[in-house]
Amino acid sequence: MAEHFSYTYLIVIIPLISFLITGLFGGKMKPIVSGLIGTTGLFISFGLSLCTAYKYFFLYGKTDEIFQKIVATDYLWLRFSDTLHVNLGVLIDPISVMMLIVITTVSLMVHIYSIGYMKGETGFARFFAFLSLFSFSMLGLVVATNIFQMYIFWELVGVSSYLLIGYYYEKPSAVAASKKAFIVTRFADLGFLIGILLLSFTTGTFDFITLTENNAAITQGSGIAFMGLSTITWSLIFIFMGGAGKSAMFPLHIWLPDAMEGPTPVSALIHAATMVVAGVYLVARLFPVYAISAPVALEVVGYVGGFTSLFAAVIACTQIDIKRILAFSTMSQIGYMMLALGVSGYGAEEGLGYLASMFHLFTHAMFKALLFLGAGAVIHAVHSNNFTDMGNLKKYLPVTHWTFLIACLAIAGIPPFAGFFSKDEILVAAYQHNKLLFFVEYAVAGLTAFYMFRLYFSVFHGKETHYHHTPHEAPYVMTIPLMLLALASMTVGLIPFGEFVTSDGAELELHTHWSIAIASVAIAVVGIVTALVFYRKENNLPEKIAISFGGLFKAAYHKFYIDELYLFITKKIIFNNVSTPIAWFDRNVVDATMNGIAYVTNYTSEKIKGLQSGQIQHYAYIFVSGVFVLALIFLYLMKY
């Protein structure tokens, strides 16, 4: 089977090549040329991904009605011993093919859009080089055949995210944001690495296929090891920590809102559609291990996801920076995906949550990228990030307005837009397994509709703001990706996802649960209507409500003081109680020992340097005297 997919490594390699070309020679070519090279490379990857998806899902993927995991390329990259070796390869299975489609689609749209959005920026070629680097890393991550390859690309994704957030490196806030993102995710990756080491130590393999073989409950390391949990559970919790860092789950989410300092297309690509779902993908990739060997770890995933989605949704209701609202909305939606994985079991009907999570990942990528690109078009027109500076933009930006509205309806879960179908499946899965999480998600669905339409009405309706110059619609190169993504947001929900992506590869028929569907649409409509009343026309209702909520509103507006808490913990507690003593020990013990040795050597040499007078005649004198002494010794004392 693998021979049908032998070309798939090209999907990953082509962006790398365009990165090398634009990165090395970008300064010498016209900016537009580097943009076209990046876009063309991505277009080829996109075409190959579509071809792969067709071949996998419709022609060769199934054996006995079950989708198989196919290793298309496997290359021994680093070999330490027979059991310990790191391979690089391409693994084709339903979720990796789905991710290939998601990444190449969104990345292609973002590339096209960026040609318009970044026009005239200094470092245009650099921007496209980094975009290609990111696409390469992300594609390498999703096709990883083993957990170590995934870790390598995971870090590459992190570094390209860092480079792109810090794209405007003259701006101190962008530099700070890029550092924050890198350090927070790097800290989480430490957990990931510990998890990898624990997991591969107990199971003796890095390989995903071996790890997730059907019904292969991992028996080694399943005994109680520490604090009532088995080694395997601990390792999976640590791996999830890495995923939580990348996917901005509470409490490692603090970098994502700040990451909005990057150019808007970057936010759309990395911080909405692709990189931030890497954590979800990681859990999904190891899902059989989670579900069979460590259900406790899976519960952790579910609760963290559920809490994050509620937490982020509440904050999103209070923010005024449109990109930050979208960032918190992303966190909230990723929380949904994590929660869906958390309430899922393995196989057949039990695996509904897994399916729903992947489905939501897919639809969310489309409409969230659209929302960000639309927000980018708005910012491009108004030159401000705050919606208090905007209003009644529907008159000036018709295309952006309609596409944005479609995306808002999709994320709010109004049928027949994409978000309805996937969110419905998540709610059903949650309802079947965990009532508490179901009610949390149900509330979040209402909040989502509310804050998205709060944003929509404030930007596109409401009072007519006085603009310095009349906002104008973005050029075609920016609006065409918007329209394509809007089309995707309307239609991808109709894909019969159960036929393609399920936890065990077998087909799962989806039933519409009318009671839950109606209830979820009802709460979405309530949210939209509330937003309509508050923000459609200018009035003082929002202020009144904000005042009546008082402390809660203020806390949410300040993101529940999590940043301040982090600063307090790091600056006051860690710096004072840990770092200062360590620094003292370093200066006064470690350094002092070294300095003492150096001082003694120096002092001694100062004292005895007179012997080395540098006078040739002294040396000759001493030499001759020595010869005399030796001669006398030989003559009189050593008579043989």
Binding site: K609, Q612, G614, Q615, I616, Q617, A620, Y621, V624
Partner: protein, 105 residues
């Protein structure tokens, strides 16, 4: 004629030459006289070589050859040494070895 002079006499002469050379090398404050002292040391050694060859192994000629080598090398060495001394003089306006200490710690 030479048969009447015992070997010890020649050795005494060469020893005196040698120690004059050593003394001059250690005490003189002028690179040229130090160079001359080294010539004395070399000549003392050459004299010894010739004398021992003549008295102890008259049938061999290696000692004579070595003496010739020493003379030749001494000439070459003298020319190099004088060149160095001139270069030093150009740089320091001085050929007192005690005052040439710029490279000292």
């Amino acid at each position: 004629m030479i048969e009447n002079i015992p070997l010890s006499h020649i050795i005494v002469v060469s020893s005196i030459m040698f120690f004059i050379g050593i003394y001059g090398f250690i005490t003189r404050k002028n690179l040229f006289t130090m160079l001359m002292s080294t010539e004395l040391i070399l000549n003392a050694a050459a004299l010894n070589l010739v004398a021992f060859n003549k008295y102890l192994f008259p049938q061999n000629i290696q000692g004579h050859f070595f003496a010739l080598f020493i003379i030749g090398i001494a000439a070459a060495e003298a020319s190099v040494a004088i060149a160095i001394i001139i270069a030093i003089y150009r740089n320091f306006r001085n050929i007192d070895p005690e005052k040439i200490n710029d490279m000292k710690y």
